[in-house]
Every structure is written in C-alpha cells, then in structure tokens.
Subunit: 520 residues, 2 copies
Amino acid sequence: MEKWRAADRLLKFSSRFASAVNWNNSCKSKQGKYFYSVATTVHRNPLFSSISPDDISYFKTILGERGVVQDALALDAANTDWMGKYRGSSKLLLQPKNTEEVSQILKYCNSRCLAVVPQGGNTGLVGGSVPVFDEVIINVGLMRNILSFDKVSGVLVCEAGCILENLISFLDDEGFIMPLDLGAKGSCQIGGNVSTNAGGLRLLRYGSLHGSVLGLEAVLANGTVLDMLGTLRKDNTGYDLKHLFIGSEGSLGIVTKVSILTPPKLSSVNIAFLACEDYTSCQKLLLEAKKKLGGILSAFEFLDSDAMSLVLKHLDGVRNPLPPSIHNFYILIETTGSNETFDKENLEAFLLHSVESGLVANGVLAQDINQASSFWHIREGLPEALMKAGAVYKYDLSLPLEKMYDLVEEMRVQIGPAAKVVAYGHLGDGNLHLNISAPAYDDNILAKIEPFVYEWTSKNRGSISAEHGLGLMKAAKIHYSKSPETVRLMIDFDYCVFELLPDTSCLDDNHSIICLCLSA
Amino acid sequence: MEKWRAADRLLKFSSRFASAVNWNNSCKSKQGKYFYSVATTVHRNPLFSSISPDDISYFKTILGERGVVQDALALDAANTDWMGKYRGSSKLLLQPKNTEEVSQILKYCNSRCLAVVPQGGNTGLVGGSVPVFDEVIINVGLMRNILSFDKVSGVLVCEAGCILENLISFLDDEGFIMPLDLGAKGSCQIGGNVSTNAGGLRLLRYGSLHGSVLGLEAVLANGTVLDMLGTLRKDNTGYDLKHLFIGSEGSLGIVTKVSILTPPKLSSVNIAFLACEDYTSCQKLLLEAKKKLGGILSAFEFLDSDAMSLVLKHLDGVRNPLPPSIHNFYILIETTGSNETFDKENLEAFLLHSVESGLVANGVLAQDINQASSFWHIREGLPEALMKAGAVYKYDLSLPLEKMYDLVEEMRVQIGPAAKVVAYGHLGDGNLHLNISAPAYDDNILAKIEPFVYEWTSKNRGSISAEHGLGLMKAAKIHYSKSPETVRLMIDFDYCVFELLPDTSCLDDNHSIICLCLSA
C-alpha cells in the first residue's frame, strides 16, 4: 500500500502538464505498433499559463528572430519522438545559443508559469524528449562548441548540444575515443546522453557516465546556473551533486556543458563469434573472458537461438557464421588493445581453451574487417529483424546475471505458443533486451506480459529500465525498481530544487516548471 | 561577497555541536604538530540534549550490555583521531550489530535531540570520524559480514563495518580484487571508504567509487532505512541517490551495506622507476603511457628531487635506484595484466622508446619482487621521511595536470629559504601531495602558505581536498572549490533529508541530528 502511495506522488511530476486530452488514448489511436508498455494517463496542470504574443516578443528580444521557431513543419518534428509514438502540441520551439540564454528563458518561463521541456537530439525511447501538451520546447542543438581538450589528461569540455558522433570524430583526430558509443550517435547529443545516463556499447569496458563525467554545468528551473564544471578526477569537497543530474532526465534542470574523461584510442580490435549450448556456459565464459582477457575485453554480447533464427530469416545477406546447425546461444566477444599480435594470440588461446574445456561448442575469429562487421551486423540487426517479423513488445531490463535467462524461459511458459520470446543483449553488463514477437498486436498477449515482466524483474532485484530511463512511459512504474523510501527522497529532492524558485506562492504543490526530460 | 555568505551557511552544519570549549584553541594547545590548516571554531548547539541514565537504559534494551560502551579507555580511543589531532568528549559509544539496531538508535536519538557521530575505522585525516563535543559515537565495526559474492559478475555485497584488508583477502581467494586499496587498509572500513569516497592507489586503473559502487543501504537521521542496495551495472529508474551518500562524509546518513563491482585479479605485475629532467616530460610520459600501455597501466606516481633527497636522507636502507646523481623528477610506473611475457616486453619497449625519444633520462625495470618493493617504498615512505625531517604542512590537492607543478614552483618563491617545498603524488590522477617541510612550526610560514595555497587552487579550478574530504578541518573552506550556487543546493539537499524527520518543531533551523562524518 505504502508502495503505491509513493508511486502516486511521483506520478504528480509526470502529470504537471494537464490537458483535456487523454494522452494514452490519443497515442494508441494514432499508431498501434509500439505499445510495449501502457502509457500513463496524465492531465495538463491548469496552473500553467499558455503562450501569449507578449511572451513571443520577449523571447525574440533574448534570442533574436532565428531562435524563436513557430514554423508548423519545424514544430511538428520537434513535437514528435523518433518512433512516432509520443506527440505533443507545443506552439513554440526556442533555440538558445549559450548558457546565459538558457538561464534567461527559464527565469522568464518560471515567472510566467510556462511549462517547458528540454530537448536534445530527440532520440529517446520513453517519451521524455517531446512535449506532452503545449510546453515550450527548449532545444539546445545550437550549443555545439567544443570548449577545450587536454591531450594529457584526456579531459574534453564541450557544450550540451554537441552531437555524439562529432565528438567521436574530433577525438579520433586527437588519438582518443568517447567512453560511450550508441546506435543513435549521428543525432543524439552529449547533454541528452548525460541527462539520460546513456549506456551503449562501451559500458563493459569504460563504465557508466557516473564514472567518466567529471563535471557539468546545469541551469535550474529558476534560471540559476550551477557551475559544477570541474575537470578533476578527484574532488572530495561536499556532495557530488552532478550525479543527480546524470540520469535525472532533465527533471532537475537543463545540462548546458559537460566535462568528460576520454580514454586513448587503441589500435588493435579483434572479434570472435562463439556458440554455447546452455546459459550456464555463457556465464562461465564471461567469467573466463574477464580473467583471461583482462584489460582488453571490450564487448560481451549474447543472443539466443530464436534471435539467430529471426536474423537469418528476416535480414538480407546474413549467413550463419557457425553452420550448419543453430546453436542454443551465441556470444560475440570483442577485444580492444594496443598490441595487434599479442591481442590476437591472446584471444585465440582463450578460444582454444574454451573449446577444449567444453564451454564453447564452436567458434570463429574474424579474419578481416568485413567478417568483423558481419558478426556485429547479426547482433545490431536484431531490432530491424524483429520489426520485419511482425508485432513486437520490447523490454529493456537489468537483471542479476545468474537469473537473467530464467525470465526468458518463464516468459515462454507464460505466453505459450501465441508468440515467440526472443532474447539478446549486453550480457557483460547484465542488460537483457527481451522481445516478444507476435504476428499482430493482441491485448491478450500484452496481458500475459505485463505486469508479469515488471513483477518478475522487481522480485529479482532487477531494473525495469536498464539504460533508457523512465520518461513518460515508465514514470509510474518506478516502484518496481526503487523502494518507497527512496522514491520519497527523490520527490523531496525534486521539491528541494524547485523551492529555490523566487516565487512559488502561486504554484500549490505543482512546481512552476518541470524540465521533464532532456533526451539524447 | 556572495561566496562568503554561502560559506557561512555551510558553517552552520559543522557548528551544530555547540560548546563552551573553543575547539580550535583546545586543539592547538594539545599538540602543535599537525596544524597544516587552521580548524574552524564551532560551538555546541544548545538545542542538543545530554545523555541521561534513561537513555543508557534504553540503548541497553536495544543493543544489550555489550553494545553500550562507557568504559573510559575505550571512549578515549573512540574520541581521538589517529593523528591525535582531533579529540571529542563523548561519554557513550554504541556498537550496533545490524541495520535495524542502527535505525533504532537513530530514531531514538532523533526523538531525544541527541547529537550523534558515525564512526568506522577512525582513520580519517580531516576531523570527521570523532566527536567534536559529547556526541553519541555510533561505531559500525561489529557489522562485518560478507553477505554475498557473485563470481560471474564480480559483485560483492557486505556490511559497512567490513575492514578493507579483510575484503581484499576474501576476494583474493576468489580470484578477484577490490577496486580500491589504501595505506590504511588494515583498519579502515568499507562503509567509511564509501562515505568519504576514498581514492587510493587503484583509482587510475579502476576509477572512483562513484563508478564501482553499485548500491548502498543507508539509514537517515530519523531511522528511515534507504534500500538502494542494487547489484546491477545499469539501472536508469529515477535519480541515482546513492551518489549523494558517496563522499558526503556521513552527513546525510549512516551507510550500513555496500554493493561493489570487483575486477578479476590479474597475474602479471611489473614496475619501472624512471627519471625525467622536466615536468613537461613527466606529462608527455603519462600521455605516452596511457597510449602505449593501454589497459595494463595501473599506477603512475611522481616525486620531485626534493622528495627523493628527503627519502634518501631520512629513511633507513633506501638507496638511489638511478645513481649517481639526483634527477629533477622521478616516475613510478606499474602495469597489471594477464600475460607475464607480453606485459614485460610491452613495458620494456615503452621504456626503450621513452629513453630514445628523450622523455626519460634514465630508468630501471624491477627484476624481482624485492626490487619492486624497494621502488614502492621510496614513494610510500615519503610521509614518514617528512615527519622525520621536522615540522610539515601537508596539503592534498587536485589540480589540472598542466598546472600542477606551477603551484610547487610558485610556493617555493612565496616561502623563500625558510622551508623546503616537497612535491609528490598520484600524477596519473592529477592528485598532488604538497608538503612544506621546515625545521619547526612557525606562524610566519603558515601565513605564507594559507590562504595562498587555497586561493591558487581555486583560481586554477582545482580541489582543496582531492581524496580526504572536508570534515571539520575544511568545511568552511568549501567555497574555494565549489560555486556559491552549488554550496547552497548542498545545504538545501541537507535540509531536505532532515525535513523527513517526523518531529522538527523543536529544532529551529538546527537539525536534530547531524551525522557529521563516517570516516574510513
């Protein structure tokens, strides 16, 4: 009971935007392909103002004509998330060019009780990067300067709107890499990456952004600029507040600058594709890989036989790398090191030993870049294959490694023959991508999946959102992964930040501005 | 001006314990050897109660006779920090055996307005682990169970009172290591390590505790138990509150359990001792080492010529590893990897290249464990050598790498011939240990050091406490490293946690309990 009360309180944060429209229904009617989780019903908060001509004039004095966008086409794009699932009705998109402009915008919106939503590359998957109703969209995409790079320490300082791929290219020229890499790198922005604590492909090797982000600058809802833009690896002077902004999905403020530790680029990359006959062997192989490949292990991905069959069936040009049969499990191992000869010998010895000890049933080491790409393509092509196969219910979960595949097997029993359960993911990070693939969407199937999948995850101390965040989609489901006391403290902290507002008297217990989510 | 006002507000937190005794004076009169920073004057908060016989009886009902310590000898040890610099006058030491007992103690102290101080191994250096006045000492040393260890994921879950060295031994048997290692490992406890965000010798390789701590359980001042004890590498469901407790020095609550990611133990360790003629070469060497030694680089320590001379003069049995002359700078490089042959060849090739390119003037690779130990002894023996040399003013600073040694040189100009400026530290982490060594303590010397050292550090965006925390010693100096807005938000968060108290009416703006610092 207590649990639910805590969840109710959190819900208020998502429901500060009130409206006559039932968000959930309008969404489902628009397109039915993505309802892998039932969205929360929220109402527009009547305390929020609506945009007036005076507001527009004011914003133009701050940002100039160019920074105040009312064009229907541009607004339509900014109102819609990349899946086409979430859609707002904002009439105003603001494009600040620097922190001072962000601060002026927020200060003004705060004084006028105008709701805002921060936006980065708008590549998020949980309904956090677009308006729910008519919020002012603040897009930081024009803030895209690299401010400094120190080749000795590897510390990069840049503005929040820098596109991840541009940072990767910049660092490549300097002999460094970003500690994170994502499929969305061509569009997503570093401010959004930080705000959503993006995980991605390099987490196994370089850890999460909590480890590599050294500093942040953020603007609170009342316009206060928080300078936490340190560039130091060690700084034990008070609470490390930047961590609250990493993964808070823009709800505490807008990240405007980022300082991040980048590792040197290493020259030698090797990839192996292996087959295991049971999940226990996959786990043991991971343990062995961590021991034997030590510092060079950079990816440990897995897929099951249903995933492999799906890829072979639906993706053009993909061939079974370990013919003729389909094995129960496949593992993709990548190593990244500094010595071509040794790294390859090391991986070869590891593979030989794994085959001899019976952990691995079969395996192959990529002989060139084309073969390496074809192995990665099998793993990375899975979302596309799933879309081609029909309807798909998608879940992004963290689970204790030893229990991860139990969920997949129990889900198969739970669902029966009506749908296929397809599993893959970042095994090295304990991150399962659980997909239920069916010929068509069916409420009976959904009823078998939810809340079962969340309850199972909760019971086994997993996380219902490994790397995507809560957004609008899962805000009310936080209690499955966090204790009521923790959720209450989050809410109190949230109030705490907003109580810095100079004028809260008119706001009841709905804060004047909620920066719902700065999505990648 | 604003800066100072913010600092004043923080001071209130340290001064919640009020007393007739002037802490600073009583401290200085007791011993003069450690006044490397002037302590803050604080007064006992008259709102706090004093211990009554009824309180003692109540605690005995919770903890039994054994858990309620009033013995003078035991109290003297618990009241005094390990340097003998900070000394409280507590009349009561409580030793809970589990989280529930910690919760009951805090709930009761809160209702009775009894001030408390959490204590771990009491090895802290900044006056945070002992009472200032007569606070109830809560020592978690009896909470020393290892709760679980997962050999596949490497996740260790244990109670806060586990001694670091015991965890290291436990993991060694399992083929893993702790991601942190400290000189104080024989006494310090993991709860204290986490609460002070201890840095130590492995940070360069394994990062800070913000990266490796996966979960925490903590008890707030009102007895609320916060279960944040996740064991997942990825969990993006709301604010990651555990980060506030990492490095908050016990001021938000008492850490009772820790979940931590441990890396596999690697078999091959190699150590080189090198000489450089200028600081620029040291920096370039670090960059090269990061590139060429890739994933196996595990330590990059430096000392200057004054440091080497001091060690050779004052430590018995130490010989110059690169005779006959003294070079301007020395670098100790350690690599840790999984392949004996390759790692050694790799380090040898790196050294050869560094000598050929002129970065390194001379160097030697340890041929056996004894030689390796002798190299480490030079670096680790520096604090002892400094103590033997006379009076020493010690500063633990983080600075941008390129400016780090500028401070040392400017300090030499600032101080003149009255004292020697000795520099060493974790160059790979940007952590400088700056020591001013003089024949005897002298207020004229101190006046030349402070506030110069703090102002210089602040001007160059450094940190006045790299790894030791603020404690009582530097609480009022936080503004040198954090912006006024950030400090204000810390204070608001602190209030926020304490506003969870069920009964705050009697407390004015002094919170009922302040868990000042759970030191390692």
